[in-house]
Amino acid sequence: MLKDEFDKEPSLQKRLDEYEVKVPQSLAHFKTNRWLRFVEYLASPTKDPLEQVHSSSSGFTAMQIVPIASAVFITILQLLIH
């Protein structure tokens, strides 16, 4: 058997044996409901797209100021057009 290759590597075997996987309980029953699975996908954690911006204090301040500045800018623009 191919696994016999590991007999020469007892330290590696020991390390690999430590890698146990906990199987989720919810998997115990086969789900044919694709909608439910889609909802679970939507609820799964995702990366924050603005993480880099709000992780620094200047970025966080900019996040607060930019909407206000944009609103003022758009208002001025509208006033100038009319």
């Binding site: 191919l2 696994k3 390390r15 690999l16 799964s44 954690p45």
Partner: protein, 176 residues
């Protein structure tokens, strides 16, 4: 007790309970393989379900003489996994924030080291080592699952063992 091959034959004849038995016998093993490969709980769960859905659809193309049910399911799961990962890579280049973060299950430093080492393995070698060590599959089955020649299985296994030994070198020294 019936074998998986007997259950699938029963399912082919319309026995719904036989499908449940197959699922019960094999879902854990598939999940463990997928989780060790990706370290993503949700993705692994989805692929386990997709694999059994695919089995339902392609049931009649399964031939017991070509291999075991276990190998057949691994083959389906691996192909689904590679397709999903390739699709994700494309999406990731357009919309990086849509890719879910991995839900890792680290508990101790030792486990962390081996999980990290396996994750660092090149994908082509990772599949070989997982199927060999954790699922004890014969060389022919692994070659079929990964769609590679038999000789390549052995060379990839050798390279994977060397890579892991090198990655976990400090752990071995600390132990000794």
């Amino acid at each position: 007790m019936k074998s998986n091959e007997e259950w699938i034959e029963a399912y082919k004849k319309g026995d719904i309970e036989a499908f449940n038995m197959l699922y019960h016998n094999l879902y854990e093993m598939l999940y463990c393989f997928l989780f060790r490969y990706t370290r993503e709980e949700q993705l692994s769960m989805d692929i386990v379900h997709d694999t059994f859905e695919r089995l339902q659809k392609t049931l009649h193309s399964y031939d017991v003489e070509k291999g075991t049910v276990k190998s057949y399911l691994f083959q389906i799961a691996y192909r689904l996994l590679i397709n999903k990962l390739n699709r994700r890579k494309k999406w990731h280049s357009f919309l990086p924030f849509l890719v879910p973060t991995s839900n890792t299950q680290f508990s101790t430093d030792e486990k962390l080291a081996v999980q990290e080492a396996i994750a660092k393995l090149p994908e082509k070698q990772r599949g070989v080592i997982l199927l060999t060590y954790y699922h004890d599959l014969p060389q022919e089955d692994i070659a079929q699952i990964l769609s590679i020649p038999i000789g390549t299985v052995k060379s990839r296994l050798y390279n994977a063992i060397q890579f892991l030994k090198n990655e976990l070198k400090e752990d071995f020294h600390a132990e000794g």
